[in-house]
């Protein structure tokens, strides 16, 4: 088995078929990369959104706790 082209230039030219061959391979690589990367990006986004949601829940819980605490002191003063 040996390399079928004499030079890198002739490898890229592919005897005139270069544009067709390289366009096809380029498109395949692009699509495969997109297929592999999209779930990773979506997971990262899910994680970020969930963290934000957690922080909001936490803030709401604290606000509610503070409200009921101040209510209790107000009642105690009366």
């Amino acid at each position: 088995m040996q390399f079928q082209f004499d030079s890198l230039a002739s490898f890229f030219a592919m005897n005139g078929h270069g544009p067709y061959v390289w366009a096809s391979y380029g498109m395949v690589v692009l699509v495969l990369v997109v297929l592999a990367v999209t779930p990773v990006l979506r997971q990262r986004k899910l994680r970020r959104e969930f963290q934000q949601q957690l922080r909001q829940e936490e803030a709401r819980r604290r606000a509610a706790a503070a409200r009921s605490a101040s209510q209790r002191t107000a009642e105690a003063v009366e």
Binding site: M1, Q2, F3, Q4, F5, F11, M14, N15, G16, H17, G18, Y20, V21, A23, S24, Y25, M27, V28, V31, L32, V34, L35, A36, T38, P39, V40, R42, Q43, L46, R47, F50, Q51, L54
Partner: protein
Amino acid sequence: MSWQWFHRLGSPRWFYQKSSAWLPWLGGAALLLLSVGIVWGLGFAPEDFKQGNSYRIIYIHVPAAFLALAGYYIMAISGAIGLIWKMKLSFVVMRAAAPIGAALTFIALFTGAVWGKPTWGTYWVWDARITSMLILFFLYLGVMALSGAFSREQSGDKASALLALVGTVNIPIIYKSVDWWFTLHQPATLKLTEASTIDPSMFYPLITMIAGFYLFYAWVLTLHTRTMILQREGRTQWVRELLGAPAPTKA
């Protein structure tokens, strides 16, 4: 006989935990085979005496078309399993398989068109094989659209599984199209029942690429399925903990 394994298989949580061990192996093997196959097919396989170097597109065109069809089986069978046994996981797999199948069908159509220009003198003809592949592409898009068209997730599951099942009639048509209507697309190069019409020096890189595409498919389908599990099971405690919520403290 215990059916426990069958029910476990249907559990998104079980799949999510098991599959994390498969991912690096699947991904690594897929990338290895694909890079070997691409270098082999582009630089080391001999030139075709009739088509010249444009034939090198076969090393991506045929594997993509293989997986476009195999992916449809996987999608339709998962849909059927979901309909019959009401397995949560199989509907998730079905949904995850749709965009991957659409992407692979697109690759087959695109590389076919680009290959057609220097070989047949045209990018597109309404040949039986090409037309039935285009229908396959629309079936994948249809499943994607239908699965997202309902506000109730279960309705989307059922409707798109039905569409996927009905669409399987297209699959034998695709396989047989090159024999039934002998128009422009060449008959199959690889055959199971008789000798293939391809020289070993071209066959080995092709089979490497096909194996690489299969592994890549398995890898990406697992990745998409896992992502969709996190999305759909977002309210369950195990997903919440996985995403960083504190474990529940017993008061």
